[in-house]
Amino acid sequence: MLRNKKVEKSIEKKHNIPINYEVLENAKQQANWKNRKEIQVKDTRKLKLVLMSCAMLFVTIVIATTLGVIFLPNNDSTKGPPIYYAYSEEKIYGYDSTEKYKNDKKLDIVYFQDYNSAEEKTSVYTDQNKDVLVCQDLILLDTYETIKLYIELTNNYIFDFLSEFENLTQSTKIGGIDIIYNTKFDKNSYLYKTYLKFNYKGYTYKITCDLLEENDWKQHIEKLIK
């Protein structure tokens, strides 16, 4: 009501013509001006409130998502239902190096590096266009020993081709990390084949080594998690 009066006064002031209130009141009644104006004012406020709430919600979601992406590890921390992953060459692609993969994907993972004479190949296993496993495949060219490092990027995949890591019986600690492993002599390669696995900074690492000496793998692991 007060607002309407203010409007009327401002019209009078602007045009410098006295207002005939009788005519104006009639016209207002005919046009139902008062109600409309009030309703209009009410609606705008509600709309503004809704829009502001939506904007705030949107900004909150964007900030939360950005912070989540930046600060939370990429590894799925929640363990969902197990997904069985069958080996298929169709689902593997090559990458320049594990170092480049780590940097490109901004992952906090460790990998074998600083070998004087080694050939490295990196492959990435995918499931529905999502990277689920990285493999660093090393040949030490002085001795032709081999090391294969698998880094699981998710926690709930069961890889059929890594079944050897399921029944490891021996355990040790290297650099404060619990490691379980098995070593046996492989009469085809005349090397000691070791399967070992451990968790480090939220990722599961599975490694196979074919090495000349039974315990050589320990030096390599020390180097890996130095």
Binding site: A86, Y87, S88, E90, I158, S189
Partner: protein, 281 residues
Amino acid sequence: MTKKLKCINVVIIGVVLMLICSLFCLPTIHAEGNKEVYYNSILGPSARAVNDYTLNYTRKEVLIDNELPIKTPNYYDRSVALKNGCAAVAGSIVIGYYDKDFENLIAGYSPTIKRGEHIVFKPADSNIQLVMNDLFSRMHVNEVQPGATEDDFKNGLRSYITSKGYNVSYISYGSGKNLNYDGIIQSFNMGHPIVVFATMNHIIKNLDIGDTQLTMSVQDYNANHILVANGIKQVKYYNGTNVIRTDTYLSVSTGLSAPDSGYIRLENITAINDLVGVLIQ
């Protein structure tokens, strides 16, 4: 009269359409009748993961047990660059194997290394990768359909071997259930590996034939695949005097990264399309 004409027109149009269709369809039907198998990495549906099997018996009888003096190398495409490239990988296994005796096959490269008194094959380093790449091209992999046929494999391998100044001959040891076991045994005894063209459903990752118990861990693998065999084992399992079953296992270099070696059980495999001995001279 008009109705009759209409009917005749419809019949004529129908016949013409059928003839046109048959022109397009007949060659396809003919081609499917003589369809060649393309060996590639396209997988059929797989149940899941790895299954462990155990068989208990009171005694066993080993009927056949032969293998190459030195097992074939377990190469695979480490660069992951050769899609559907099992033909090229299997070819490189054959080349790497024979390079120990025919050194010009891979110029300036020794495929083996000494471990104590034993000679073993080196893993697939960049020298072997180059051979794979070469064979991939010579075998025309993926040029017609994904993968390569048996003929593509043979022609590509021959092309490579003759380009290095040697000759190759192929001997078939049968397909399906009609396998020439004597020929297979002789091939291994003479040091010649056998290329296996198979429609696969499994790879045995671990095989342990004990005195009274057989254990196997079997990985599903449903694909038309080429492997290289380096040994054969045939074992009859008994319960008392009754025969439980007879198994024939081929020891193979799979050409896959995981597992790179293993066994296939001939009684259980979907199809052996051909077993081909490769002899380089």
